[in-house]
Amino acid sequence: MTTETLIWLIPLPPVLAFFLIVLFTNRSKTLSHTVGVGAAILSFVGSMVVFFRAVGEEHFAEHPFTSAVNWLPTGAGWFKIGVLVDPLGAMVLFFVSITIFMIFLYSVGYHNYGQPEGDHDHKGLPPHGATIEHDGHKHVVPSVEPMYSRFFAFLALFAFGMYVLVVSDNLLTMFVGWEIMGLCSYLLIGFWYGKPSAHNAAVKAFMTTRIGDVFMLLGISYLYSVTGTLTFREIFTEETLHMLAEHTTFFGMTVSGFIALLLFIGTVGKSAQWPLHVWLPDAMEGPTPVSAMIHAATMVSAGVYAVIRMFPLLTADMHGHGLPTTMAIVAFIGAFTALFAATIAVAQNDIKRVLAYSTISQLGFMIAALGIGAYVAAAFHLVTHAFFKALLFLGSGSVIHGMEHGVLHTRNHDVDPQDMYNMGGLKNKMPITFWTFLIGGFALSGFPLITAGFWSKDEILADAFAHEHWAVFITLAVAAFLTAFYTMRQITLTFLGDARTEEAKHAHETPWTMTTPLVILSFFAVTFGWVGIPEHFPVLGPLFHKNWFHDFVGHTLAEVPKAPEFSWVPLLTSLVVALGGLGLGYLVYRNVKSVSEDKLQIPLLKNKYYFDEAYDFLFVKPAYWFAENIVYKFMDQGVIDGILHIFGPSTGGIGSLIRDKFDLPVINRFFGDGSAEVTYWFGGKLRAIQTGRIQQYLMLALVVFIAIGAVLFFVLA
């Protein structure tokens, strides 16, 4: 099979799995997860084949795998859709397929496959546990998810959206994949729709990302109207980019800059950057594999991928040293978000919410890197982040699962299994989860030399330093420090010390379907950094000969970006912030016994700078007010009902006038009630057909229709 054909086929298994599960296998949990995981494996194998063929290809960047078909006639020519895998695409395909496969496998264990049905579980609510008799004792064990098959169907559709987005060679099909993911995030965040918080979170996620998507669609339309094409390789030619950068449009911006800004707003929504970040922490209401899917493998990565993809457009109007308007905006939003989300993460107590804010913060790193033109560093961090964040989310799911085990044991359902202050000492109870979580946490903090997070974060800092973007450099360094701090806080509170509750004492290691993905992902969370060690790094650089990642991905661009010069300042900064943050986090939280001893529970941070409240006040409340007062009270009740209320009395007046002046004196005196009786008689006969059954009316209509048709046919013929 040629590689191009194979690329066309990569997104196919998940979507087939979706339809198979929905239409045929939904009653069987075993069949459904076999189909789902099988599809994930097929796509995974396909992606790996494509990736390794891409790596083996000489001059791959100049001749990427691409093929297109004519799709829509557009007057003069054709609108083509097709697939494209260039170095960047191959890299993204690599991590996407691994993480998706791992998440599918993990979901089997997470949803308690093989456990009995719950005693009183309902669809749309998390399973509550089942009682089983064992040697005369009654035990409560975790029960299987009631909507197990549905979960795999949605997850498969999600994977389909991501694969479509990655292999697309044009903005339109990319946008289609983008929107499929938007839908799936809604479905999966609201998977437990019986919980009001979950369905509110689903609506919030959908609405917030929609704001970004509208702007993105505007950007796509504008781009199409200017260039007449949406295919990446046709847009990124020198003359097109030059033409776009030459002309100016609204607000004195260049066309390319303006389009890039519109597309970037789409990313702000999708990748949860300030000010559209509010949906992502609430998205934690979904099952944990979904959080991992949204936060690592697919959704938010797609946002960053879109900006990386459109990078030539972003930098088209860049001359010399200074940043053009759009890039400055991108850099500002990225750096600001990185710091802003990191400060919130410090004060969160829910194990998943800490990770949610850390995702926002890490995405801010990537966006900031793109804003200052660090193309390769952003792509590198995207890949490493996907590995360690998927690992951390799956690890936190494993912890929650273990805690739920404890909750079932003590039957005290007031204990929140996600609150880190209810944990502690899980290190010995859940060793595999602990060690893998530690690796993921250290990678997130950028633990020097070993972990992948160190190399990618260091590269962003080095780039910011080398190009003298001091504000970005300092902001990101502070954010990196906070990252290490809250990560260590999380690890200390969750795993180290003594158990703070009875539930934590009875926590349990999770089944192999959940721990295997953790082990595999922790392998990548460590080793993947080694493919991107800078060439001039002391000792290690020469050992690895060249920076393979930079070499491979950098060639995606027409002009290969230069790796920043090696300098001790950013390296030392990385070392200090990572080790300092980790050390401080351990020292501060080593002896903290309860929430009240935590000094950093500042209300401002705890309440996320009151952004939810502010948006509620600024947008939601006015919308309700407008609907209530303007539309309902003024328009409907006042104007429209007012007009109708004039009709009522006036017809009444005319009616009584006719009755008094005509009916009573004339008709009644001369004709009597004859007409009424005739009508009454007819009514009596006709009411037999007024059965009140719609189907009978329709049947009657059909018969009459056929009769009239027959008459017309025979008469006219």
Binding site: R687, Q690, G692, R693, I694, Q695, L698, L702
Partner: protein
């Protein structure tokens, strides 16, 4: 090129399925679905006749688009009615909505 009759047969089949749905289903939403099928089978006919007739005459396509718009409006009104009936009477079974019969 696919012969015209294929489209007509397909449309007729779709229409019959829709008609059967409308006549046999008791759920008001399913009845609406059936109506949609019937409308769309007509659209297929319109588009097919346009394509196989004089392509420069746009009436077939335009008509199909008008049908879309009407169908969208119809569904919006129909579903709104179904929802408000459901809120008052807690059922969407057409037979149970019988207050107006004698």
């Amino acid at each position: 090129m696919v012969p015209l009759s294929w489209y007509l047969i397909f449309a007729a089949a779709l229409f019959s399925i829709g008609l059967f749905g409308v006549l046999s289903r008791r759920n008001a939403v399913a009845i609406l679905l059936g109506i949609e099928l019937m409308l769309n089978s007509v659209n297929i006919n319109l588009a097919a006749f346009w394509r196989y007739g004089d392509v420069r005459m746009m009436a077939g396509q335009v008509f199909a688009i008008i049908v879309f718009a009407v169908a969208a409006a119809e569904v919006a009104v129909g579903l709104a009615l179904v929802i408000s009936v459901y809120r008052r009477r807690n059922t969407v079974i057409a037979d149970d909505i019988n207050m107006m019969k004698w």
